[in-house]
């Protein structure tokens, strides 16, 4: 049973667009919400993470928005570039336990 539901499964945007990837969860004990980026042939790499006491976090062109009451969080990529084309995974964790991952979103940024 997937504890973190991620959408969309795939996404195509033009260069400069703002792709948005959404995740939803049910377990209110989750206290850490990271996003991972994976390029073909590589393992996932930590991109950005947020805790539920914060509603937004920015790191460069990447922003997480977090809505605790709705139990949803999303990743926005500002001024997207072809080099951002990758698979993105959201995840969530109860403190002391392993990460639960979403199913992933394949992002293609066209020139």
């Amino acid at each position: 049973q997937q504890q973190v539901k991620q959408s969309p499964q795939s996404l195509i945007v033009q260069k400069g667009g703002i792709p948005i990837i959404n995740c939803a969860y049910e377990n209110t004990a989750f206290d850490y919400f990271p996003w991972y980026q994976q390029f073909p042939g590589k393992g996932p790499a930590l991109l950005i993470a947020i805790r539920p006491d914060v509603s937004e976090k920015k790191e460069g062109r990447f922003t997480i928005s977090f809505n605790k009451s709705a139990k949803q969080f999303s990743l926005h990529i500002m001024d997207s570039q072809p080099g951002d084309s990758a698979t993105y995974f959201c995840a969530a964790r109860v403190s002391g336990y392993a990460l639960n991952f979403g199913k992933g979103t394949s992002l293609l940024v066209t020139p």
């Binding site: 991972y36 590589k42 995974f89």
Partner: protein
Amino acid sequence: DVKVTQSSRYLVKRTGEKVFLECVQDMDHENMFWYRQDPGLGLRLIYFSYDVKMKEKGDIPEGYSVSREKKERFSLILESASTNQTSMYLCASSLYRALDYGYTFGSGTRLTVV
């Protein structure tokens, strides 16, 4: 940089074989994890370990076992490989159990069982 090294990039094994997937990390991380990645299913946790000789089942442990005899090494064992275990296997490590410390993943082992 932390490195997580998986011993094989590609493996082809026959049905019924016992298969060992090896993972080594070089930064003294306490926690180690095995996930499998399948298209449309994301990453699913097989087993994890918080310390030497410790292991805990993840979401899909059936058909797998693990071994952690040394802190830096975490092995995944397929007792009798089956075709439905054809997948990408990812090993990861992290520093602390409760802190916000991201996982470092290896590049994966693509296993094909024929």
